[in-house]
């Protein structure tokens, strides 16, 4: 029977199906961090059982670490307690930890791919919803809760119902100034923040095939924002080239054997999806969000919708969002004054993102009214940025280049946006209070964020580039 890529990987990892359609799913790689693991370690301790497969776990500290002075002890007492607990738990259970100060430390979804841990055809889980990022390599990767983290510690399995399948096809050539973040924000605006709930989403089509691995990761990263269990893209030469030679990638004969397995990983031609969506790349413009969920996005040159165009059932949420954001219906979003620019997070903190920003701002300086934080996704990204001289471009532009971590994406550490302030952010969520209590977030691509950093307001990156 013809199968989708998702079905092939899922079925190959199903240890057993139990009544009611729940699968016992085997997990190849388990990524952990300091915030969602301590209770799970306590859980297995209380049960008096060991970690079943410690070699299949990789740990890092990212969610609440400071992004300045990482060589000093963590000031925040509770944050320090979590990071210390992670160190102790990893030591006790013989789990590899890339903690603060380690050359591989970084955001969990940045380090997995860059170390070659993320590979086609495997299953990956992490107690973090943006685990969907790894699906860019043609694997099944999804976020889990702490009870499930404990299950994986105990048995290397989770129990999940099999989601339905959806394919989102994007075909055509992207316009100037349009990058992968705009693709995913556009899809979200089309299908809403719950449009893919209950589905595993495969992204396909010529536009997706032409994306780099890092750009594909940005798309899969935000599949959770559509509610999807996971997002995935069939692996191809771009995927294999990216993985080859990385720290934990298979080498020599093992590489050839792996490649042979990976090359057959795609949805069969005659396989069917429960839902299928088609999008023209030409219809996508640089996007920005105006509301408080990632589905509330519009092209930068568009107007905020009027309440009359909103479905009755969504009117209350729409009004609540505009009130929170301090926006008015029907107004232009371009020209909106910005206070902060945050370039970072598991969505857009990789070297290509930093290069994109650097290419844009080179020789320019930031608007005096804006504070700009660049937070690289990992120590390796930071190192490469310095080697390429990108750090100097940022410093000359008046940006702050900080140290790796999740930072202002969720404001667990000190990197919070003050109440009422506007932040253009390359992260993934514009929820109320996400970047700090009362903070107002506008999600956008690194290019649009760079344009805002220079002009001090929401600006179309394309015009600025032409004019400069």
């Amino acid at each position: 029977m013809a199968k989708t890529l998702f079905d092939k990987i899922w079925d190959a990892h199903t240890v057993k199906e139990i009544n009611g359609g729940i699968s016992v799913l085997y997990i190849d790689k388990h990524l952990i961090h300091e915030v969602t693991s301590p209770q799970a370690f306590k859980g297995i301790k209380n049960r008096g059982i060991p970690v079943f497969r410690p070699k299949q776990i990789i740990a890092t500290a990212d969610h609440n670490v400071p992004t300045v002075n990482q060589h000093l002890p963590i000031q925040d007492e509770l944050g320090k307690k979590q990071v210390d607990a992670l160190m102790e738990n990893c030591k006790n259970h013989h789990i590899e930890l890339y903690g603060l100060g380690h050359p591989y430390q970084g955001i969990v979804h940045v380090i997995g791919p860059e170390l070659g841990i993320t590979q086609p055809g495997i299953t990956i889980v992490c107690g973090d919803s943006h685990t969907s990022t790894h699906g860019a390599f043609g694997c099944i990767a999804f976020g889990i809760g702490t009870s499930e983290v404990e299950m994986v510690f105990a048995t290397q399995c989770v129990m999940q119902s099999k989601p339905k399948t959806m394919r989102i096809n994007v075909n055509g050539v992207l316009g100037d100034g349009v990058v992968s973040k705009d693709i995913v924000l556009y899809i979200l605006a089309q299908i809403t923040a719950s449009g893919a709930t209950g589905y595993a989403v495969e992204f396909a089509g010529s536009t997706i095939s032409n994306l780099t691995m890092e750009a594909r990761m940005t798309v899969c990263n935000m599949s959770i924002e559509m509610g999807a269990r996971c997002g995935l893209i069939a692996p191809d030469e771009t995927t294999f080239d990216y993985i080859k030679g990385r720290q934990f990638a298979p080498a020599n004969e093992l590489w050839d054997a792996s490649l042979a397995k990976w090359k057959i990983l795609s949805s069969d031609d005659d396989s069917t999806f429960d839902s299928e969506i088609f999008i023209n790349a030409e219809d996508i413009s640089p996007m920005i969000t105006y509301g408080t969920n990632p589905g509330m996005g519009i092209p930068i040159n568009a107007f905020i919708p009027t309440i009359a165009c909103i479905a009755d059932s969504d009117k209350a949420g729409f009004s609540k969002a505009l009130a929170y954001m301090g926006f008015e219906e029907g107004k232009k979003i371009a020209g909106q004054k910005i206070d902060y620019v945050f370039i970072g997070s598991c969505t857009n903190s990789r070297i290509e993102d930093l290069r994109m920003v650097a290419g844009y701002v080179k020789g320019k300086t930031k608007s005096a009214d804006v504070e700009v934080w660049i937070v690289p996704g990992s120590k390796q990204v930071e190192k490469q940025a310095i080697e390429e001289g990108i750090d100097k471009i940022f410093i000359e532009a008046g940006f702050q280049l900080r140290q790796p971590g999740c930072s202002a994406c969720l404001g667990m550490n000190e990197d919070k946006i003050p109440a009422g302030k506007y932040c253009i952010s390359t992260s993934n969520r514009n929820f109320e209070g996400r970047q700090g209590a009362g903070a107002r977030t506008l999600l956008a691509s690194p290019l649009t964020a760079a344009a805002a950093a220079i002009t001090g307001h929401v600006a179309f990156p394309f015009y600025l580039e032409r004019g400069a």
Binding site: V15, G145, D314, A437
Partner: protein, 213 residues
Amino acid sequence: MSEINKQQSIKDQNYPLGGWGSHGIVRGLFVPLNIENVDTDQIIPARFLKGTTKDGFGKNLFIDWRYINNDEQQPKPDFVLNQPQYKGQILVAGKNFGCGSSREHAAWALTDAGFKVVVSSFFADIFKNNALNNGLLPVVVSDEFLQRIFDQDYDAALTVDLENQTLTIDNTNEAVAFEINSYKKTCLLNGYDDIDFLLGMKEEIERFEMNRM
């Protein structure tokens, strides 16, 4: 002790969260949260995720909606959890409840605050699993039925019958059936958890690993 009571007490002993209602029934007033897309950052903001245990998250439930100017001191009188007439173990919320972050702290905050059931027309995937893994029952009803519940006065009671999989508005006696996975239902009613189940499969899992080599 009657047979039923004996069974009940066994359930409660095995169930760390205090058992799932009496005979699988939760009956009482409900808290109407008529907002759609309630994300887990609203249920519990990231700055309160710094615990290393599962306890005490209830006091920060919906904290930024509960207080004026996010000062965590002056309650917003118009927020439903600040209105004393709204109480009970059943939260009724707009569609797409629990979207966003995978933080299980959202489920811990709700159970710590005393909720046993969340009713909505649509739940986010990860939240649904997290809820079930903590004895919090997500009940999916139609948009129309959800609206019927929101239309009730504060003193209307609901009955959630897990055994028979029905939700009833007591005043009007309107009842709907809801779906729940049969395995998950057994777990909730008997206080089993997935880890117990998976540990029982250890040999099978090891065989699976061997066969993949």
